[in-house]
Subunit: 269 residues, 4 copies
C-alpha cells in the first residue's frame, strides 16, 4: 500500500552532494536565508541547519527585486561566503543565477543553480545552465502553466543537462490574503506526467510564516520530493522577506514534523 500518488516515478535519485540526494524516497530540505547578508548571519544559520538530514543550504546573492531601490544582494562576495560556509559545515549550496555571465565564477562556488520564477521564461539563461553539469532547480513562473514549465525544463535538458529539480512556489491569482496561491495539484501533476523531482516552496507561495509548516507537510503528503524554506536567525532584521522566514526554533519544529511524517509513510508502505 502506498501513500504516494499512484503512477509516480520515484525510482530515480539525483545526487546533490556527499550523502545528499533527492528522489526515490529521499526527501530533501533546502533551507537558508532569502539573501546572504554577512558571515555572522550565514554561519549561525548554517550551523543550526547542518544538523538536519539531507539538506542543502540556500542563500541569494543576486536578488531580482521588484524595485531597483531594494537590496540587490551581495553579489560575488556573497557567493564566495556561501561557498566557504557550505564547505565548513559540509552542506551543498544553492544560489539563484540571474545572468549567464555569472556562470564563469559561480561554477566554482555553488553546487546547484537556481532559476527563479522571474527567469523561468528566460530561455537564453536556461540554455546556458543546460550546458553546465550542475543540477538546476527551476522555479515555476508566477503565471506559467504546468505545460510551459515542463517546456522550460526541456530548454535545459535539450542542451545536455538532465539534472533538473522543479520547484512549485505559488502562482499569481486574484487572492491577496496570500502573496501567491500555492498549487499543490501541480505537484501531483508533475509526479504523474514527468520524471523530474519536485520541491515546494511554501515561503514564497504564501508570504506568511504561519502557513509554512502546515503547507510543507501537505506538500510532502501530496507527493513532493522536498521543500524549500526561508530560514533566518533574526527574521525581524532580515534585509529581504523577513515576514515569510522561519526563525531557527520554528525551523527545528518544521524538520521534526517532516521527519515524523516521512518515517510514518515509509513504515506504511
Amino acid at each position: 500500500m502506498k501513500l504516494y500518488p499512484e503512477g509516480a516515478n520515484r525510482k530515480k535519485q539525483l545526487m546533490l552532494g556527499k550523502n545528499v540526494a533527492i528522489g526515490d524516497n529521499k526527501f530533501l530540505i533546502i533551507a537558508g536565508p532569502c539573501a546572504v547578508e554577512g558571515e555572522e548571519q550565514l554561519t549561525e544559520i548554517a550551523k543550526f541547519t547542518s544538523k538536519t538530514n539531507n539538506i542543502v543550504l540556500r542563500g541569494g546573492v543576486y536578488k531580482p527585486r521588484t524595485s531597483p531601490h531594494d537590496f540587490q544582494g551581495m553579489g560575488l562576495e556573497g557567493a564566495k561566503l556561501l561557498s566557504r560556509i557550505g564547505k565548513q559545515y559540509d552542506l551543498p549550496v544553492i544560489t539563484e543565477i540571474t545572468d549567464s555571465r555569472q556562470i564563469e565564477f559561480l561554477d566554482q562556488l555553488v553546487d546547484i543553480y537556481q532559476i527563479g520564477s522571474r527567469n523561468m521564461y528566460n530561455y537564453d539563461l536556461l540554455k546556458e545552465v543546460g550546458k553546465t553539469d550542475k543540477p538546476v532547480l527551476l522555479k515555476r513562473g508566477m503565471a506559467a502553466t504546468i505545460k510551459e514549465w515542463l517546456l522550460a525544463a526541456s530548454y535545459i535538458e535539450l542542451n545536455g543537462n538532465n539534472k533538473i529539480i522543479l520547484c512549485e512556489r505559488g502562482i499569481r491569482t486574484f487572492e491577496t490574503y496570500t502573496r501567491n496561491t500555492l498549487d499543490l495539484s501541480a505537484v501531483v501533476a508533475i509526479k504523474n506526467i514527468s520524471h523530474y523531482p519536485i520541491v515546494v516552496d511554501p515561503s514564497h507561495a504564501t508570504g506568511r510564516k504561519e502557513m509554512i509548516i502546515p503547507l510543507a507537510k501537505a506538500a510532502l503528503i501530496a507527493g513532493a520530493d522536498g521543500v524549500m524554506v526561508e530560514v533566518h536567525n533574526d527574521p525581524k532584521q532580515a534585509l529581504c522577506d523577513g515576514q515569510q522566514s522561519l526563525n531557527l526554533d520554528e525551523y527545528g519544529k518544521l524538520v521534526s514534523e517532516l521527519e515524523f511524517l516521512t518515517k510514518i509513510m515509509k513504515d506504511y508502505e
Copy 2:
C-alpha cells in the same frame, strides 16, 4: 506536539446526525454522486459508503449546470429518494439548494443544505438558509477572496444560523490542466482566522480523479476538518462529472488512507 496548524480552534464540534459530527478532531467525509440519478444508483453507493465512519451522503437534485442543455437534476423526486435512502442506511444527507422556494419541501428531506460555488454571492438565498436551523455547507465562489467568503458566511450567521461549514473547492486561475486550482492555503487561513470548520472538495477543484486521493490527504494534513468527494458506482455512465468521480474501490482506498493518517495524527499529539 501538534500536527495541526497552530492557532486553530478545533474545540467546537458541530453535530450533523446521530454519531456524525465535524470539528474537534472529528474528520468528516461527505461522499456520493454528483447527481442523484435513480434508486439503483443511489442505493448501491449508499450501501457501500455507509460502512465509512462519520460520513454524510451527498447527491445533487437541483444541478446548476453551465449549459441549459445539460441534465438539470431530478428535482423534488430526487430529494425524496435521497431522503429515503439516507434513512435506510442511517446516513445524514446533503443536497444543494439553488432557490429559496425549495426550502419549503427540502426542509423535511435533507439534513444539511449545500450552497454551491455559483451561489456564494446569492445573498438572498444565504439569508433564507440563515433563517433555518439546519447546518449549511458554504462553498467558496470560484473567484471569491477568503474575505468575501467569510462575509458570505456572515450573511447566514447574522440571520440566526451559526451551523456553518466552509468548503474549499478550487479557485479559477489561468491554469487549464486542472479544472480549478485547489487553494490549500485557504484552509490554513480559515483555521487561523475563523471559527468555522472547513472541508475540501478535491473532485471539483481538480476535475481529475487521479488527483483526489493525494490532495484529500494533503488537505487533512493542512488542517481541514473533512473532505467532500464525488463517488459513483459506474463513473463512465454518470450523467454528470464522471471524469472526476471515484468508483467504489477507489473510494475504499481513499477512506483507508485517510483513516490511517487520522489515527497517526491522534497518536502523535
Copy 3:
C-alpha cells in the same frame, strides 16, 4: 467603410421605452446612482440626465453588498420612487433583481431587469426573468468566460424571453490598481459570435472615476451598443460606490464626447 467591427449584426433594434432603443446604431446610455437613496437625490439626477438622448435611468434598490453590514438598498420603497421619478421625467428605468420573489411587484415598476455580476450563475433567477416579457440586462460574472456568459443568456432565452442585453463590467484578475479588468475584447467577441446588443460598464470595471470617460469612448469605438455609468449629484456623500461615480458636470462631458464620436462614425460610414 465601417468603423464598427466586421461581422457585427447590428440590424436588430430592441425597444426599451418610448423613443429609447439599443442596437442598429442606436447607442444607449444607462446612467444613475449606484443606489436609490431618496427623492431629492434621484430627482436631481433624473432631471439632469433626462436631457440626454436615448437614455435609461438606473438605480439600485436591492443591493448585493459584499458585507452584510453595508447599506443594502431601499427595497420596495426605492423601487416605487424610481418608477415614479422615471415616469415624471419620461425615462425608462432599470434596477437589479436579486430574488425571483421580487418579480411580483417589480414587474409593475421597472422597464428593464438587471441581473448583476454576482447572480449571473443564478440559473433559477435567470429562468424566472426569462418567463417575463421585459428586457433583461445580464452582467458578466466576475470570473465568467464569454462562453459561460452566453450560456447564461440561453437560460433566459430558452424560457421565452429574447430581449437580452449583455453588459461587460470587468473581470477579476491579479491586477489591483483597478477594481476589475475591463475586457473590451469581449465586446468584439460578442459582436462577432452573438446577436445580442452589449453595453460596457466602466464604473464597476475600474472603480476609478478618472477612467470612465476614456474607457466609455474606447468601448463605443470597439463596437459596444451602449455604456452604463454611475452618476451621482454628490459623489462624496453617496451611500455606495462614490469613488467611481461621475458628478453631473463630468456626466455632461461624457455625453458630449460620446455624441461627438457617434456622429463622426455615422458620417464616416
Copy 4:
C-alpha cells in the same frame, strides 16, 4: 476640449528616426512580421508598410518560444537583413533582445530594443539596455501589475536611459477565448501616473486577427500613443503567429481607420 484622458502628459516627444517619433500627438505604428523569415518576405512587407506615416518596422530574430522545438528565429543573419531592408525603405527598425550579449552587434543594426513580455522581470537585461542610448520598448509581463511594470522601467532609467516606451500586450487571465486579456485600463493608468509613452499590441493580446482593428482603434481613443501589430505578406505560411497576423490589405484598412480617427481628434481639440 480634449478627447485624450485628462492629466495626460503628452508633451514629450521621443524621436525614433528621421521623421519618426512618439508622444505629443504623434501616433506611432509599429508593424511587421512576428519573425524575420527571409529577404523576400521582409522586403514585401517593408515596401508595403513604408507608405505609412510615422512607422517603425518590427521583426523578431531571437524568438523566445514556449517550446524549444519551435522556430527560434534567424539570429544575427536576420538582424542584418532587418537592418539592411530598414535602411533601404527608410524605416527605423525594432527587434527583441533576449540576452545582453546580443547588444554588442545589435547596437549597430537596430534603432529600438524590444524587451519582450517574458523578460520584463529580467532585471540584468534591463540594466544592460539601460546603459545603451537607444530607445527601449518594454512590454508588460504577462502577469505583471502596473506597478511592477513601472518599476521595471525604473531599472532601465536608473541606468541612464530614459528613452522608454511601454507596451501593453494583454495579461494572463482565466479567459481562453482570447490568448490574453487586453487591459486598456492600463493605458489610462499609465497616461495618468507616468510620463512614458505607451503603445498597445492587439495582436499578442488577443491572438485573433479579427479583433486587431477594433481594439487598435479603441486603444487610440483610450489615449495610447501608438499600436504594434503583426503584419505578414502571407499569414497562412508564417513561421510564427500566423493566426494573429494581418495581411497587407487588412493592414491598409487598419492604417486608414487609425488615420481617420487621429485626424478627427486633432480637429476636435
